[in-house]
């Protein structure tokens, strides 16, 4: 049984279909990269996978007893307000809420996990600072730590490296790879960094308002769509 299965799914905003023909499945331990140009429907699909949006047609099924409390998520644009008074630590530990559930306060373990994830992304010294006073890249790292805190089985990341400097980007990729290898956590990442995608991912899903390619990374680099996209071409679908 696959962790997530997408069958003929299509998504629409107010009746306008933006992405369609989605047929793929994600197995436990996969590292899936979703690629495609701006506006191709990647974020929309991710919202669908998270249950924040219902498909207009088709189905998204979860298997292996996957619960939403086991999912970590990094949004492309946080829905939180810019001037919200919250410290870095408060934001990061809120990622533990799903697994803590109804029990009051956070446990010692929750606090320890939050500190470890801040350490991993090098933001431990910032933990008492106000989130709104950080730089864009620092904020991105805080939200990544929060996502890591929430992750038990699946981690969904929407353009995680945007705004990160090259050193932190490299560290981030190796953190994610280690997470995927050592803990068997499933990674679903949207990325415009196609070279990193083919280097790290086990599977690629290429969108262009419809599904152009889904399969293993080896097959993708051989495929027409992959060859074209890797060369830096953009409008694959419209050129053909």
């Amino acid at each position: 049984m696959a962790l997530i299965t997408c069958r003929d799914a299509a998504f629409a905003y107010e009746g306008r279909v933006v992405v369609t023909g989605l047929n793929f499945d994600v197995q436990q331990g996969n590292y899936l990269c979703i690629v495609g140009e701006n506006g191709s429907g990647k974020t929309t699909l991710m919202k669908g996978l998270l249950g924040l949006m219902q498909p207009k047609s088709g189905k998204i099924e979860t298997g292996d007893g996957l619960k939403s409390t086991q999912i970590g998520y990094l949004p492309q644009q946080t829905s939180a307000q810019k001037d919200f008074p919250a410290s870095v630590y408060e934001v990061v530990i809120s990622g533990r809420l799903g697994s803590r559930g109804i029990l009051p306060f956070y446990s010692k373990l929750d606090k320890q996990i939050a500190l470890e994830n801040m350490e991993k992304l090098g933001i431990l010294p910032l933990r008492k600072k106000s989130f709104r006073e950080l730089s864009g890249g620092q904020q991105q790292r805080v939200l990544l730590s929060r996502a890591l805190c929430a992750t038990e089985k699946v981690l969904l990341l929407d353009e995680p490296v945007s705004g990160l400097d090259p050193i932190v980007t490299a560290e981030f990729y190796s953190t994610i790879r280690a997470l995927s290898r050592d803990t068997g956590i499933t990674i679903i990442m949207i990325s415009h960094d196609i070279r990193a995608a083919v280097e790290y991912a086990s599977h690629i899903l290429h969108l262009q308002n419809r599904q152009i390619f889904f399969g293993t990374t080896e097959d993708y680099v051989q495929s027409e769509a992959g060859q074209y996209f890797l060369k830096g071409g953009d409008h694959y679908a419209s050129d053909h």
Partner: protein, 274 residues
């Protein structure tokens, strides 16, 4: 000082102070979430619904708190739904509910004679309003509100800070939004007797806004807001007693002063202390 001692010699005043302190605390705690979640209008809307409910309770001669409570809680659910349904229409919907309930209250008031004093109390608050049994209900309910707030503090934070993240990672956000609305409804009903329908909403907004001028962390905003609210309530009560003015207005006045001072400090800080 002798003024304060004198205040505590009146049992009705002691009752008013005990309940008022607890309600101020509830309002300040919830207020932080209401303001940050852009739900401040719900507090105002509910106080107007509460006004109508109190007037009707007075006319049919029914105990005001038990009568208003279910009405205002139901209105809280309604306002929450309206607020969700669409962003722009949401706050006009709240205004619609507020003004309609105000109208119903005034019409009911106009159809009956001889209760003008009662209406004045409902609008502007009265410290004589609190009976012994009112006090027991109010104390019990405010303690429940405070306990629920503390128990679900982290959920309320998560839902207020980033609702879609909370939802995506498995938190039942609808439940906690409803909880926030219900707790607000209870606080509004309890506070209305003393603060008056016109002023109770400010009790949820002012302390939170003042605290946000200076604090940068959520927990410190919550604590500062609670302290401001309790202190302002007490100072306002003393002024009200000393100057023989309506308590609600005095308390809001003190809150306004605190807000102005805090804003001033924030402004000076921003300019880099020259």
């Amino acid at each position: 000082m002798p003024l304060i001692i004198e205040m505590f010699s009146f049992s009705f005043l002691v009752r008013a102070i005990v309940v008022g302190l607890l309600v101020s605390l509830c309002a300040a705690l919830l207020g932080v979430n209401l303001v940050l979640k852009r739900y401040a209008m719900i507090g105002t809307g509910l106080s107007h619904v509460g006004f109508a409910a109190m007037v009707i309770a007075g006319v049919i001669d029914f105990a005001p708190v038990p009568f208003s409570l279910p009405v205002v809680v139901a209105a809280a659910f309604l306002l929450l739904r309206m607020n969700e349904s669409s962003k722009i229409k949401g706050d006009s919907a709240v205004a619609l509910v507020s003004t309609s309930s105000m109208a119903i209250g005034v019409i009911v008031m106009g159809m009956t004679t001889g209760i003008t004093l009662h209406i004045c109390n409902v609008m502007f608050g009265s410290i004589f309003a609190m009976t012994q049994s009112d006090m027991y209900i109010s104390v019990a309910l405010s303690v429940v509100v405070i306990c629920l707030f503390v128990l679900f503090y982290k959920q309320l934070f998560a839902v207020t800070y980033d609702e879609s993240f909370a939802k995506a990672t498995g938190t039942k956000v609808e439940i906690y939004k409803s909880l926030l609305a219900i707790l607000t409804a209870v606080t509004v009903v309890l506070g209305m007797r003393m603060m008056g329908a016109l002023l109770i909403a400010s009790l949820t907004i002012f302390p939170a806004l003042s605290a946000m001028r200076l604090c940068k962390r959520f927990l410190s905003v919550v604590i500062t807001s609670a302290v401001i609210s309790v202190v302002c309530f007490f100072v306002g009560m003393v002024l009200s007693f000393g100057l023989d003015l309506p308590p609600g207005a005095c308390i809001v006045g003190v809150n306004l002063i605190v807000f102005t001072v805090f804003s001033g400090i924030a402004f000076v800080r921003k300019k880099g202390i020259a």
